[in-house]
């Protein structure tokens, strides 16, 4: 039971990541391949604040999300001019650089040794120790994320995003400042990814750079594409299926030296088959252009 709840907590955290990436990739059509970098910033910010200065994880979570958003602005401002494959490469580069900083800035992050003993969230003086309590907390954040992103994409602002996705030139020609819209979307996505990172850090209570590799960004992108680009429900499906399904491999009694690469092989194969057969995902309507 505990294990089941744990998987649901992880799925919840991935839903937040997938929703926030879907805003960037699915609703606005910007290929971003370094999303996990923002989660990394959120996770390290709130963990270091809690460990070094005893700052409450609640405040740390907000500062972490703001830091992630700040990185989003700093990186997004120059790179939103890039298009297609080149934007994909630049954001992928961002992911590698942030991972590399987490690994090499040993004085700050303890590098590959990671940060152990990160405190959990507490409510009215009670630590959220049981997994179900944490699941509730994550569910609240999933709800907030889905609500905010749902409101954004259904607003006039969201319609501009869709017009950028469908025809950037047309959006420009009706006087929309396309780059500003892209930057806002990129920053909002980064903000929520920062929240997901912080939630992860204070749940697992240990982080190290290996949780934030480039492969992890690809996995989140796969969840977006699998569920359906430009679909809120699709992000739920994508994250739930792709978090829960590999866990089932555990019950086939394979040693982890077989199960781990097998899981990755399934991810890879799934990505290829999706691109060949259903590039719009399970319930998405939009395709890459």
């Amino acid at each position: 039971m505990e294990y089941l709840l744990h998987i649901l907590v992880m799925a919840g955290i991935y839903i937040i990541l997938t929703l926030s990436l879907n805003l960037i990739v699915g609703f606005t059509g910007l290929p971003a391949l370094g999303h996990i970098a923002f989660a990394c910033v959120g996770a390290y910010t709130s963990s270091l604040l809690a460990l070094n200065y005893g700052i409450s994880p609640w405040i740390g979570l907000m500062i972490g999300a703001f830091n992630a958003a700040l990185l989003g602005v700093l990186v997004g401002a120059p790179s939103m001019r890039l298009k297609g494959d080149y934007l994909a490469l630049a954001t992928f580069g961002l992911g590698v650089i942030v991972y590399s900083i987490a690994k090499n800035w040993v004085d700050l992050t303890r590098g590959p040794m990671g940060l152990p003993g990160i405190p959990k969230f507490s409510v009215l003086g009670f630590e959220l120790q049981p997994v179900w309590a944490y699941l509730l907390l994550v569910a609240v954040f999933v709800f907030i994320t889905a609500f905010v992103i749902g409101r954004i994409v259904d607003s006039p602002f969201g319609r501009v995003l869709k017009s950028i996705r469908e025809d950037e030139l047309a959006a420009l020609s009706i006087g929309k400042n396309v780059n500003r819209y892209k930057l806002i979307v990129f920053t909002v996505g980064a903000f929520f990814a920062g929240i997901a990172g912080s939630l992860y850090a204070h749940y697992i209570t240990f982080i190290d750079p290996s949780s934030f590799t480039a492969m992890e960004s690809i996995a989140v992108l796969l969840m977006v594409v699998f569920g359906g680009m430009g679909s809120i429900g699709g992000s739920f499906i994508g994250a739930l299926v792709l978090v829960i399904f590999p866990e089932m491999l555990r019950f086939l009694g394979m040693p982890s030296s077989v199960a781990a690469p097998l899981r990755q092989m399934i991810y890879g194969l799934l990505l290829v088959v999706l691109m060949l057969r259903r590039p719009q995902g399970i319930i998405g309507r939009y395709r890459f252009k």
């Binding site: 290929p31 120059p78 790179s79 001019r81 890039l82 298009k83 297609g84 494959d85 080149y86 994909a88 490469l89 630049a90 580069g93 961002l94 590698v96 650089i97 590399s100 900083i101 690994k103 090499n104 480039a214 492969m215 690809i218 992108l221 594409v225 030296s257 077989v258 781990a260 690469p261 097998l262 990755q264 092989m265 991810y267 890879g268 194969l269 799934l270 990505l271 290829v272 999706l274 691109m275 060949l276 590039p279 395709r287 890459f288 252009k289």
Partner: protein, 243 residues
Amino acid sequence: MSTFSSLPQPNSRFFFASALSAILGIAVDRLVYLPLRKNNAPGLVFLLASFGVFIFIQNLLQLIYGAQILTLRTGPVVEGHQIASAVITDIQILILAASLILLAALWLVIDKTKMGKAIRAVADDTVGASVSGINPEKVILYAFGIGSALAGMGGVLVSLETNIEPTMGMNAILKGIIASIIGGIGSIPGAVLGGFSLGIVENLGIWKIQAGWKDTIAFAVLIIFLLLRPEGIMGKKTDRDKL
């Protein structure tokens, strides 16, 4: 003074490895990229599908050979040659010589042969090429074969110098992409220039700071180029519209 007798002799396994790479490359093209071309899939779908292929093959290798590091033993370890304050080993000279020969061969094929001309034509304008009687699919098949065989040879050469592990490909891909963007995509001299510049910048960079920062330096260079000169050193400014 060491002699070159300690070097691995060119043997059939080297050619077997590159032949296998060529076959694998062509197989991936037929199974994945050909159907995508038929669907008129956009570039990003190709990119994601190739990531899928990459993840699949990397983990297949890990499943077969395990995650541990393997080494290619090539003979006794001998002292390198001292040139000024730098040291270069026989194996490093061999790698350098072999890559120069391969580069010259590639340049000859691309620049001087009919097939090379066809490859350039298809890259430039697929429809135009097929109008003038070139079969683009055949050309793409050759390009995949040649490219994958070269990548296989590159892998063998790299493994003479470093350890072999399933995840070694990621770095090679990334550095390859960065080098070709720095140099200018579609230019062989540009690729050489980009490769050397990237290597020099990376290694001068870690002269003063820790070696772990190599990737950070490489990607910082990439991002600077993407922002300031996306067409690369050798690329033409007019190519910018295509980016």
